[in-house]
Symmetry: C2
Subunit: 149 residues, 2 copies
DNA sequence: CTGACTCATGGACTCCATCGACCTCCGGCT
DNA sequence: AGCCGGAGGTCGATGGAGTCCATGAGTCAG
């Protein structure tokens, strides 16, 4: 993991569809060398995958919200987690320090759907209560933090 | 925007480095047809870009936290936003309904760095106070929600 | 029926991905 | 010192992919 690897990671976070040839030109190596380095980064799990970044509004998922979950005192955390995992609207899920065990980032089409989702979460066994905050607008998301390569 | 477009988007959210030929096989079109469709989705802004999904821990950014910002009553929201935008640690930024005007997702290497970041945010003009919650673990992040294509 | 439009196909040409062969540097061993 | 072996690079070849373009099928309005 040297500075060339870091630059490759930065370049792929900027544009994951760059060709190996293009990456090679930018870092000053040959295409096969870049190919091998990227392959090793993938194998090591440093690069987990490549995702298209979409406009959720255009896909009918214009409502973003943060939902904090407070569990019952005797709740089985894994059961709550599994229930939440089964809900496709939950885009991200963090296990938190603090009263709210989980923090979810959810994406739905309408406020009505958000309401239904909240009801469903509140109904799942182990969940004592939830706290929801709605995002009025997304200033930016998943902005890559440049490495020092 | 038909069901084939939705499937292409799903496929690219799964693996943004799929070749056009592979996408073509999966959706049952020719490669040039897929090329044109994807190009149109990009031009329309439905696909905003392609990002490598990295293991932040491996890059020395193992600490994730959510920070809510409460603004001064007379604060200029744009100034606060610009100040936050200039901090590379802030990966995502949402403008929220509720007392906390902004919700940030930040990524740093150590708790000490998080402390410094919080201090810096609290010092910026227009910020009255902040509330920070630390993620102990990330269950999942940016999970693509499948379209109905 | 006809013309215009949309959208997919197939061919052609260029460029890329990827494999194998070889080269170079470096650390450890005889 | 000289040799060996591995890591990691370049180069060249080739099969396949990307992409441009001309063409053809299907659809709707007039």
């Amino acid at each position: 993991m040297d500075s060339i690897d870091l630059r490759l990671i930065d370049l792929l976070r900027e544009n994951a569809r760059s060709s190996y040839a293009e990456l090679a030109r930018k870092v000053g190596l040959s295409a096969p060398a870049v190919h091998e380095r990227v392959g090793k980064l993938e194998a090591a799990g440093t690069i987990r995958g490549y995702r298209a970044d979409v406009d959720h509004e255009a896909l009918g998922l214009g409502v973003t919200a943060l939902i904090g979950i407070i569990e019952d005192s005797g709740a089985d955390t894994d059961d709550v987690l599994a229930a939440v995992r089964a809900m496709p609207e939950v885009e991200s899920c963090y296990f938190m320090a603090g009263v709210e065990s989980y923090q979810l980032i959810v994406r739905v089409g309408t406020i009505a759907e958000l309401e239904q989702l909240i009801v469903r979460i509140n109904r799942t066994p182990g969940v004592a209560s939830t706290r929801t905050a709605i995002a009025l607008s997304t200033k930016w998301e998943n902005r890559p933090q440049p490495g020092l390569g």
